[in-house]
Assembly symmetry: C2
Homo-oligomer: 202 residues x 2
Amino acid sequence: MSRAYRPDETRRRILEAAYGVIHRHGFQAAGLNDILALTGVTKGAMYHHFPGKTALGYAVVDELVKSYLEDWWLAPLDAEGEDDPLAAIARTIQDNMTDRVPAIHLLGCPLNNLAQEMSPLDGGFRQRIEELYRAWRRRLSRALTRGQHSGSVNAAADTDEAATLIVAAIQGAFGQAKSAQSMAPFHDCMAGLNRYLMGLRP
Amino acid sequence: MSRAYRPDETRRRILEAAYGVIHRHGFQAAGLNDILALTGVTKGAMYHHFPGKTALGYAVVDELVKSYLEDWWLAPLDAEGEDDPLAAIARTIQDNMTDRVPAIHLLGCPLNNLAQEMSPLDGGFRQRIEELYRAWRRRLSRALTRGQHSGSVNAAADTDEAATLIVAAIQGAFGQAKSAQSMAPFHDCMAGLNRYLMGLRP
DNA sequence: CACGTGACATACCGGGGAGTATGAAATCAC
DNA sequence: GTGATTTCATACTCCCCGGTATGTCACGTG
């Protein structure tokens, strides 16, 4: 038989269950018992791997949320041979919009949810979330700057400003879609954003 | 001496204290005891005026949040003799940005906060919040349409799409400012939004 | 002024939450 | 193989929070 103790596997299962429950109910309303019931592991195991609920939340941000942000929103910007960031941004949005429909209009963006809930309450969360937002803006800004060098983006555009607006539009679109329980506001908003992106052409 | 019983005054104090605590901690983390301690009234009074915590939250949205949204963001769009909605929108943003600085980057937008936290959890909140978002979009869209008729807005622009993007950008800017605990992202974002608005000129 | 009702105050309850103490089983070090 | 350490399980504890039961005082009404 295989080994009975698989610590890293156990840790990962707890993390992923926590991610799901937090995504659904928010961090404060996420019950440890719910998370544990979902995984089948017990409280003893959880408190062996994590010092407490807060640390578990930090780990969710540090490992899962960060990783999803990277995979879904950041990496596509730096795709091989990409020299048209405006097209890459539009394509990334389109991909995420079609791939994760239910998560968007039912649960919203995990990063945005956590940001709104926890930023003013807990400095640890705030710093971690701010770091992710900063990374997002920087990657967008750098991609746009590369586009300026390659001639696909207007050289006069303020790339930092544009990056901030793009992130805000995406987060705001998530919020409206979640409240409406419909993808319609998201689609409208992204159409408007695309029009804005077109305005950044040379 | 003045009257000892002032029911509507008491109700209002409870409502406003609840608004403050909810704005700071979110609805779920807002303790009734905190709210009551802040007002000086007791639990008996509170449960006399409101059936429970949820009803209190609904009342906060229905009366206070709705009213603030109207006063700060909607009414300025329909100012007397206003036929340049793009200027009115830019001015409204500027006014709110300078008037309520600490609330923005420390606590965020009350509507946005509640939307992110409560929309997926409670249908009552969701409907109320969605109604406010819809009203916001509609007022923006109508203002833009009026601008099209008066010639200050490009007749080819999709006003619904633009309204949704404007709301999203504002909400997203709030979120980033709150996480950064700084007005910088808000300013960047609004500058970008202004540039987008300029693109809607004929 | 009596009476009924509205407007509060006080004290308490039940439940669910995070966290802990302790122990057993598995794995590792030597 | 044996002691030490890691990994997990069970059974609690404590506390806070929303909610309730009940009592008291003020105020309008006849």
